[in-house]
Subunit: 210 residues, 2 copies
Amino acid sequence: MPIEIPDVVVDRLPLYYRLLSRLDAEGRAVVSSQELGEELGVTPAQIRKDLSYFGRFGKQGRGYSVSRLQEELKAILGLDGRWKVIVIGIGRLGRAIASYPGFEGQGFDVIALYDAAPNLIGTEIEGQRVRDVTALEDDLKKTAVDIGVVAVPGEFAQDVVDTLVDAGVNAILNYTPNRVQTPPGVEVRHINPVLFLQSMTYHLRQRRSS
Amino acid sequence: MPIEIPDVVVDRLPLYYRLLSRLDAEGRAVVSSQELGEELGVTPAQIRKDLSYFGRFGKQGRGYSVSRLQEELKAILGLDGRWKVIVIGIGRLGRAIASYPGFEGQGFDVIALYDAAPNLIGTEIEGQRVRDVTALEDDLKKTAVDIGVVAVPGEFAQDVVDTLVDAGVNAILNYTPNRVQTPPGVEVRHINPVLFLQSMTYHLRQRRSS
DNA sequence: AAGTGTGAACAAGTTCACAGCC
DNA sequence: GGCTGTGAACTTGTTCACACTT
């Protein structure tokens, strides 16, 4: 039916959505692909083409209604509902994630925290009681979860992900430096700052020797 | 002179480097592009082509020497020296970053922390005294820094980045959700988990309605 | 026999350029 | 007149397939 939409396109939509939210908050009513592109460092043609995969949201000669386009993207991205998120691994990083203010406001509810450390289990963090990770499997049978955020030590990442996937969690945000294997259909995103640093040092080195 | 190397290729090198480090630690002496590819979910041809931009590191009929290739990549990526990193914004996230164990081991030295909060300035975090962000500009004149990690509240991101760039910092790792503008030649990487979540929900929504 | 290195073929993604509409 | 929507042209990136080396 609808032609297949490239992943790169989908990955840019949240960027557009975020900018539109800002413009809306600033009271802007209409915006052109030109302006959107300037703000985001993307060509106007790219933006028009991307949006055209999903519909015809603009008006020739005028541009896009900010609020209309924002609503459209919200629906396309599935942000018109709420999503249940759990965080596994409540070390320094996990704690920062669990308390990240950007989630709630965007429709993501952190509904549970898990860890393996006895001295953490049962304590309260950001208004959430930390649960024993060994209870994860049973918990998932009782309560469906949409997204699992993994912030355990790297060597446990695959185990945790397997548990999540077996229980039907189809989206994983992996903060560990280990890549994880998942069956097709499961969405995985890796956040590894070291990889970014290492590609930047390549470029720093280049420019130094020119 | 040497043909221009695509950014996508450079971005994959750290991935290869990381896997080779692991294989080396496991005592593997030789590895084929086939194996590397399986482990990383990349085609063997891709890996061979990527490496061929930089030299001929393999031996036909045998594969690649793990330690040799690791050393080559280390040199290519500039990981044979040490890089000076500072972190600006020592909230929960900044603290997690400052204490992230993956940096030191890979040649990245966090040499200073900055914040604007009076109750934080002067306190010690991870063995580092937190400095007043208003001292940043002067500090940079005295001590060159390679990479700035920005973890301040979003509205201050551009200001901090401007200060860094004006002082000659050419690599920025931006943890705030705000995109920042930089002159050409400055490397910027954005880490925004919300964008990942939002592209994943698109796919979750798709699969649900099929 | 096995596996690299690489030009050539192919696929994916981006930009152009312009008809069509407001 | 101004800006969208989109096929076509182009550019970039990936995979193929095989000559060549060990």
